[in-house]
């Protein structure tokens, strides 16, 4: 199936008549895929997600979720989506189970059905043993899992995850990815997520969109994007004190070569195949290779290529900063 689950056409949000947070973006998300939304702070990620989950009304353009228009059929959209917010929204004074039942009530799910689902979901995110403990006592990872469970209580067709691993340590983050993969498999959902962590996007997403200054700069699968940068990076050094740049340049698939601090930085396509050729060429001429490394481009490089290297922290609102700080603090268990 490749039906479009989310589709936007010229989706735009302007705040206070002059601040364009999202600027005519077009994209579509296919059924069953994990779609990642990447971008610096203030790029428009949260505004886009807030429009798709019907919290914000678009200024211009349109978008649909499962065929429902987000502005005109907002209540239909709300019934078929789930949200795992960036913040920990579970009520600290209530237990895990009570929180799930509260979520169920918000969807108008009858109590008996809700209880069944809650038990299943708690089992799925391995919180059964803690269901009657107050959320106050939960660790960051447990809270995140509870949020996941809450987002699934209405059996959504599309799940929105806003920075699902913000503030979590590496172990918990990796475990959370496992849960997300498991959930996707179990429920056959479409997932739309925003993230700051590029390795997360690389590991989880089928396709990613990089957004900056309210515009989508590039869309594609992580592999496509990495290849679009023009190949791998080979770094090598030789024993002899001669310039071999020209020699290396002649090897097939080598695109660029730079000499830096006595080492050669070579940009080449198909690095794994090209590297042995380079070594052989050098050997034949009697040079000895002393050091060699091959790096494939990561999503990090793709990201920096498209969004530049300047820092963007100043653009965040006071509210966003506060909620992020609270989330991080809670993730660490205070």
């Amino acid at each position: 199936m490749s039906e479009e689950v989310i589709r936007t056409e010229g989706l735009t949000k302007v705040f206070n008549k002059h601040l364009t947070a999202v600027d005519h973006i077009n994209f579509s998300v296919k059924h069953g895929e994990i779609f990642g939304f990447l971008g610096p702070n203030g790029a428009g990620k949260t505004t886009t997600i807030n429009m798709l989950i019907t919290i914000l009304k678009p200024t211009e353009g349109r978008a649909s979720v499962l065929g429902f228009d987000i502005a005109k059929q907002d209540n239909n959209v709300r019934s078929v989506i789930g949200l795992v917010p960036q913040e920990y929204t579970a009520d600290e004074d209530l237990t895990g189970l009570e929180n799930l039942l509260l979520c169920a009530d918000l969807y108008g799910i009858p109590r008996n059905v809700a209880k069944e689902r809650a038990v299943d979901l708690l089992k799925l995110v391995e919180l059964t043993d803690f269901k009657d403990k107050r959320v106050q006592t939960y660790s960051g990872g447990m809270r995140r899992r509870l949020e996941l469970a809450c987002g699934l209580i209405n059996r959504p067709k599309v799940l929105f995850l806003d920075e699902p691993t913000l503030g979590l340590d590496v172990q918990t983050r990796t475990a959370t990815w496992e849960y997300i993969r498991k959930l996707k498999k179990e429920f056959g959902m479409t997932l739309f997520m925003t993230t700051h962590y590029l390795e997360e996007a690389d590991a989880l997403c089928d396709r990613v969109a990089i957004i900056d200054h309210g515009k989508i700069v590039v869309i594609g699968s992580p592999d496509e994007l990495k290849h679009s940068l023009g190949g791998d990076l080979i770094t090598l050094a030789i024993k002899e004190n001669e310039d071999v740049s020209e020699l290396i340049q002649k090897v097939e698939h080598v695109k660029e070569i730079k000499k830096e601090d006595g080492a050669y930085r070579i940009k080449a396509e198909f690095g794994e195949i090209t590297t042995p050729f380079i070594i052989e060429t050098l050997r034949k001429k009697g040079y000895t290779v002393t050091r060699l490394s091959l790096t494939e481009p990561t999503l990090n490089e793709v990201y920096l290529e498209y969004t530049g290297r300047s820092m963007r922290d100043a653009e965040e609102s006071r509210e966003a900063t506060f909620s992020r700080r609270m989330t991080m603090r809670r993730a660490r268990g205070r």
Partner: protein
């Protein structure tokens, strides 16, 4: 899609869930619960008992009886009964104020966004806040009445248990009005400080420019004009008519009408303002 149809799609679903969430936070925290009734008790005990106003009136002048003067001034033989009732209104005022603050927390912690992404109606989100504030205030007012009785509140001549229901009815109206107002004020705010300052600015003058501590007709004219438009004065008067005075039914009807109209108008404005904010 069959699953969707199983879910109740009444426009009011979720109202009890959200109201109960607010209430649970409160009754599950005994300390908070206790503290919220300590304040009126302190006011009642210290102010009501220390201001022994009837002792000011000399007893050795022929023809002057403290009881009669007190009766003429306050409508009841002892000042404590008069001001204890004022404390009920004050409790309502402060409880609704703090429940207004919970909107700010819901916003900052992302809970509001989470709820907004569910099919719960926007009006229900606002109304559950109003309702929980009203229920809390009414419960606390009930406790204040009990404590006042224990401290020596003297009921009026025609007091019956039915009058208590009347007290709760007028308090409900007042709280619905006040909390809609406070929620409309706070819902736009992302920080605690601003609404706190605004509410302090509103609350204390509202309390003193009312008949909570002293009868309005003995106040200077300019102050009386404030007291006369203050819904708190009408609430206090209604509660006094019901609990400690010899009930003047015409006056009571006027009190109820005034507070009722206040509640409807302010709640409508408050809910429309909040609604518009949530649908931005």
């Amino acid at each position: 899609m069959s699953e969707m149809n199983n879910n109740s799609k009444s426009r009011l679903h979720g109202i009890w869930a959200l109201t109960n969430r607010e209430l649970k936070k409160w009754y599950k925290e005994p300390l908070l619960f206790l503290l919220s009734i300590v304040q009126p008790v302190i006011w009642m005990g210290l102010l009501g008992k220390s201001m022994n106003i009837s002792a000011l009136i000399p007893t050795d002048i022929p023809g002057v009886s403290p009881e009669i003067i007190m009766e003429q001034t306050f409508g009841t033989g002892d000042y404590f009964s008069f001001m204890a009732v004022g404390m009920i209104g004050m409790t309502a005022l402060f409880t609704t104020m703090f429940s207004g603050m919970s909107v700010v927390w819901d916003r900052r912690l992302g809970f509001l966004n989470k709820v907004l992404s569910t099919p719960v109606s926007r009006a229900v989100i606002i109304f559950s806040k109003v309702l929980s504030a009203a229920l809390r205030s009414m419960f606390q007012a009930g406790i204040v009445i009990l404590i006042a009785v224990a401290f020596g509140l003297q009921f009026g001549a025609n007091f019956s248990l039915l009058n208590i229901l009347g007290v709760f009815a007028i308090l409900f109206l007042l709280c619905v009005g006040l909390s809609s107002l406070f929620i409309a004020l706070t819902i736009r705010s992302t920080r605690m400080e601003t609404p706190m300052a605004v509410m302090n600015l509103i609350n204390l003058p509202m309390m003193f420019a009312s008949n909570a501590f002293y009868p309005a007709r003995l106040m200077p004219d300019w102050l009386q004009s404030f007291v006369k438009v203050n819904p708190l004065s009408y609430t206090n008067d209604a509660v006094r008519q019901l609990l400690v005075f010899n009930t003047d039914w015409a006056q009571l009807a006027l009190d109820f009408t005034y507070v009722g109209i206040f509640a409807v108008i302010v709640a409508t404005i408050g809910i429309i303002l909040s609604w518009r904010f949530l649908n931005k």
